[in-house]
């Protein structure tokens, strides 16, 4: 492996170095985006907490006649809203999500609403039909979430789907993100807070209020899930790129060692040849 490959080793070192520059840059971009994404995620938390209590107060208001949003149906057609990444190179972030859904979707006919470019790419090659899609997770607005929420509610009302599930990645910490499947509709009464306010005055009336507020609540859920997923994506990318940069560093070190060894042995060989020539 010595002498002849000196030039090859030099070339390899150079190529690994340029790869390392890219991974390093991606890591820095991901870290800075992660900061913004986390702030947005934190800002959406109080809304979700307050809106959830309010929604359950309204949904369980009429104990006798419960809304059809609360009563589960037999599941024949399920719709997933899948929030994945806009880009690759984020470790197993995207793959984990798709695998989880593949596993979960075996028991019923399913269709998807992919959010994020990677999700659209993946599902355009899968047998699950795409209802509608959103190109970018980054900077997904509350209004855009409202459109999706309106659309799924309409289809749910028509009986097109019996269950709507939101699939996203929950951000726990920079090192830990979890894929989550959250049923949106029907509203899962087991998730209701223990103490709801059933005696209250509703204006115009509980049903109308639920019709009005449910789309906003669902939009809020999708929005906060998107914020979580985007933060998770950035965190996953940061970690993946960090280890890629480290690996590249190790490789360069190893290659430099081999390069020096090759150089040394070529010098030794030259010296031996000169000495051998002089002895003649």
């Amino acid at each position: 492996m010595a002498g002849a490959s000196m030039k090859d080793i030099k070339l390899r070192i150079r190529s690994v170095e340029s790869t390392m520059q890219i991974t390093k840059a991606m890591q820095l971009v991901a870290s800075s985006k992660l900061r913004g994404a986390r702030a947005r995620m934190e800002a959406s938390k109080p809304y979700m907490k307050v809106a959830r209590t309010a929604l359950w107060d309204i949904a369980l208001h009429n104990t006798g006649a419960q809304s059809h949003y609360v009563i589960p149906r037999e599941i024949r057609q399920r719709c997933y809203i899948v929030i994945a990444g806009d880009r690759g190179l984020a470790g197993s972030y995207n793959a984990n999500m798709f695998k989880r859904i593949e596993w979960d979707s075996r028991d019923a006919a399913c269709c998807v609403i992919p959010i994020g470019r990677k999700a659209i790419e993946y599902y355009s090659h899968s047998p699950m039909p795409i209802i509608t899609s959103v190109e970018r997770v980054e900077g997904l607005s509350f209004e855009a979430c409202g459109e999706i929420a309106g659309r799924i509610l309409e289809s749910y009302d028509n009986g097109e789907y019996d269950e709507i599930v939101l699939a996203y990645t929950s951000f726990v910490s920079v090192l830990l993100q979890k894929t989550k499947l959250k049923p949106l509709l029907p509203l899962d009464t087991r998730q209701a807070p223990e103490r709801t306010n059933r005696q209250m005055l509703c204006e115009p009336d509980a049903d109308a209020l639920l019709k009005l507020f449910l789309p906003q609540y669902l939009a809020g859920l999708i929005y906060s899930a998107a914020c979580n997923s985007f933060a998770s994506e950035q965190a996953a990318r940061r970690v993946a790129m960090d280890s890629a940069t480290k690996n590249a560093g190790d490789m360069i070190e190893d290659l430099s060692l081999r390069y020096n060894r090759a150089r040394q042995s070529s010098i030794t060989q030259e010296l031996t040849e000169i000495v051998a020539g002089a002895e003649h």
Binding site: P46, Y47, A54, D57, M200, L201, L209
Partner: protein, 89 residues
């Protein structure tokens, strides 16, 4: 003096979370003022309307509110809205 605890939230963040004397918002049925000791109450907010609130120290503030829900229980008043911005300052 009795006070209400007022929380104003949008998906983008929390705008107010403190004691207040009273809050007036536009619901789909017209303007409603919430004072301390109000009964449990829920109402849809108008697509676009002005909110006025009287802070604990008596200062009056105005804001623009777009849609959402007003939710009152046990002197906890929550304005859950899509968009909110202060008209003063």
């Amino acid at each position: 003096m009795a006070l209400i605890h007022l929380t104003i939230v949008t998906p983008e963040g929390m705008y107010f979370d403190a004691e207040a004397q009273r809050v007036i918002v536009r619901t789909t049925g017209g303007d409603v003022a919430i004072l301390p000791h109000h009964i449990a109450y829920s109402a849809a907010l108008a697509e676009k309307g002005e909110a006025r609130l009287v802070e604990a120290d008596g200062r009056v503030r105005r804001a623009e509110v777009e849609g959402g829900l007003l939710h009152v229980s046990n002197d906890d008043v929550q304005v859950i809205t899509n968009r909110f911005h202060w008209k003063d300052a």
